[in-house]
Symmetry: C3
Subunit: 304 residues, 3 copies
């Protein structure tokens, strides 16, 4: 869990993922000699802050978004949301501007309907703030801000250790509705003719999907993946002994929605551990569900 803890600490709100990109590229450079197969690594200008790893002859691509929710400082320390963070009065935020490091608290004024922070001086316009991470681990759970989607990234990096054939795609801007997945879809389809995608991301604990009952395979959310592809995945899952749960929702979305609407006929399915305290500093995931997530991805990348 040490790697996960490190990932949770990196500040990388949507549009400003550079620090995360650098961390992952460094990690790959140092670790890949221990991996079963050496991937081709695509990054740089034509990928903005995204990274693609290509192992062997890929049939399936795993998408893990590296951005997080957060806040942008507007004028006079007013805050604007990046994506959909929970608004909790007194919640700690961190960041940095031209005058130095920042640690501050959210101030909600429900009468005026404004979100501010209480920093002692005016923060530079456009400064991005993120939740202050406090990583907690117990026997059964891990808890921190940004498990969504540092766990999805972590899962992809576990998968990389033994992956023989497949693509791993680290994407940006997921929390704000996309901005990289359309060109990443283009790349994987045109360069590798890959038509199958899995979305390595974190979902919600609900009345139908509790903690500890396995990784969630989403049959739909606001996006409706092609049923014949989903059915193939569920069949593989059913034959395995890996604990999983079927999720059905009418709202919420992921990089899957962007793949869906892209000009490439790529099937997609969201598969990820469920969390409680979504989009707060206290996102919480059961360790068994994390384990099932890694196992399920290993299996599917072989069988699909």
């Amino acid at each position: 869990m040490d790697l996960l803890k490190k990932l949770c600490r990196i500040e990388a709100p949507s549009g400003n993922e550079g620090a995360m990109t650098e961390f992952i590229l460094n990690y790959i450079k140092n670790e890949k000699k221990r991996w079963g197969k050496q991937p081709l690594v695509y990054s740089g200008d034509s990928f903005q802050d995204c990274i693609v790893l290509a192992f062997g002859k890929p049939r399936t691509a795993v998408f893990a978004h590296i951005d997080s929710i957060g806040f942008t400082v507007r004028y006079k320390n007013e805050l604007i949301k990046i994506g959909g963070p929970q608004l909790i009065n007194g919640c700690l935020l961190v960041g940095e501007d031209s005058k130095g490091k920042i640690e501050t608290k959210i101030l909600l004024d429900k009468k005026k309907n404004t979100i501010k922070c209480d920093f002692k001086r005016e923060i530079d316009r456009g400064t991005m703030l993120t939740f202050k991470p406090e990583f907690r681990e117990s026997k059964n759970y891990v808890q921190c801000c940004y498990l969504d989607n540092r766990l999805g990234v972590w899962n992809a990096l576990q998968l990389a250790k033994t992956l023989k054939n497949g693509l791993i795609v680290f994407s940006c801007w997921e929390e704000t509705g996309g901005g990289s997945v359309a060109y990443l879809a283009k790349f994987i389809y045109e360069k590798y003719k890959v038509k199958q995608a899995l979305i390595s991301d974190i979902t919600w604990v609900t009345d139908g999907v509790p903690h500890g009952k396995g990784v969630a395979i989403s049959l739909r959310d606001s996006g409706l993946p092609r049923r014949s592809y989903i059915n193939r995945i569920v069949k593989i899952a059913q034959k395995s002994k890996i604990p999983f749960q079927l999720e059905v929702e009418g709202t919420g979305g992921s990089d899957g929605n962007v793949i869906h609407r892209s000009p490439y006929p790529i099937d997609w399915c969201f598969i990820g551990a469920p969390e409680s305290h979504v989009h707060s500093p206290d996102e919480k995931v059961h360790k068994k569900d994390i384990e099932a997530m890694v196992d399920m991805y290993k299996l599917l990348l072989k069988e699909l």
Copy 2:
């Protein structure tokens, strides 16, 4: 109307269009020997559940979506909408899960704001349900669920009988905002250099567009097609003796919106018969408007 009746009976909600694809491919296989010209038929993996028919040297593509609205079963027989079906208490739904065929009724609980069905057992998560079809035909009208868009499909198949030059595109996911038209636009533009599209779909009876006054040519809805293209179409219509009505709306959309936003400069225009009882089990269309729709498409595919 026998073909239309058959089309209305097929269960093919957005994302699960496979049965419809199979029916149409079979129909084409059996019927095309009677057609004036033999088309190239594109389908299979690179088209997901879509089909493209290419006749001669195409200048114009006709898009007809093969999916319908419906419901997905969530947990404990709760229902989630697929697209925008009308919610009518007691309305009959059909489907199938691992335990067998299902026929059930919608139960609306307006206090709790939930939609359920009253089936005797818990239906498999993710099962898709559609309206139970009851096809009705009178002197002037046809009535059934899913005239939107089985009539658009039927229209395209009538057109196929005598089409010399043109593309017919059967698309998926229209009722849920798209998911295939972007790559279909790519295909028709790159492979056939086609820059003109017509949307063979069903529209609404309104204060300006009554039953029986002809096929509606839509000047706009939530999407604004390029006026110079629309003007060319209206001129051709005005010179003909085919009854038509001009529609102007600020809401609603179609596959046209997806073509509009695709990375291809393809003009589009929505042309279809108007219906009442939209998105209910009782969609109703005047036979004269259907006739005018077929005639208008035949004319436009020649003249445009």
Copy 3:
């Protein structure tokens, strides 16, 4: 300001930009002999009503949308909005239909929640109406409908006079959420490998961005551009003596959003003078901000 006045007078609501396209093409034909460098001019069918000018070896593309907000006539002189015009009772509108020129007034019925116009006869369905332009100039300000975005177009045409390397892109449908920028992004990326874009458009005067304090560089609106690109731009601006202001908003959007979601990894930044009385017949911009806008574009096209 004579050219700006002419631009404001042209009727070119979204979807019906033809008159504007013609004006600009004519202007280019007549003026380009006085320009420092002769551009390649792309227009015609594959660009619908858009125009692209290519100067030298471009690294950056400037997008200026040529469409405006307005109204479509529905049935019985009811009006539907094109984009988001302010609704002002009695406001003058102009247009033309098959029976001749139209000048009429907006009639708001707040009880019935309808928008109508008071023309003496029924206007043809689908006729497009725009604000009647009244161009006003004082020592410090210009004021007219459609400064958004005739000023952005004007700015691009000023830039053209001395531009050595760069693309100027005149786009359509911006006020209604896009419809041309996706294929224009494709063109500039595939043909010129251009990965940098600037959005030459007009923004809002707010509590943080007053009149007369310089051109606004937007750090974000509903779209979040990549921060590393924005930072490069702000650094160039800071080293210059051109007055500028940093804007941070959570709502609003531009052609930048469409570039953002396109399948091409193109960075973008919105840079434009702020206006008051947004989307009304009285849009007002400070002349110093216009001057700063032109200077900033000249500088950035050299330095980026």
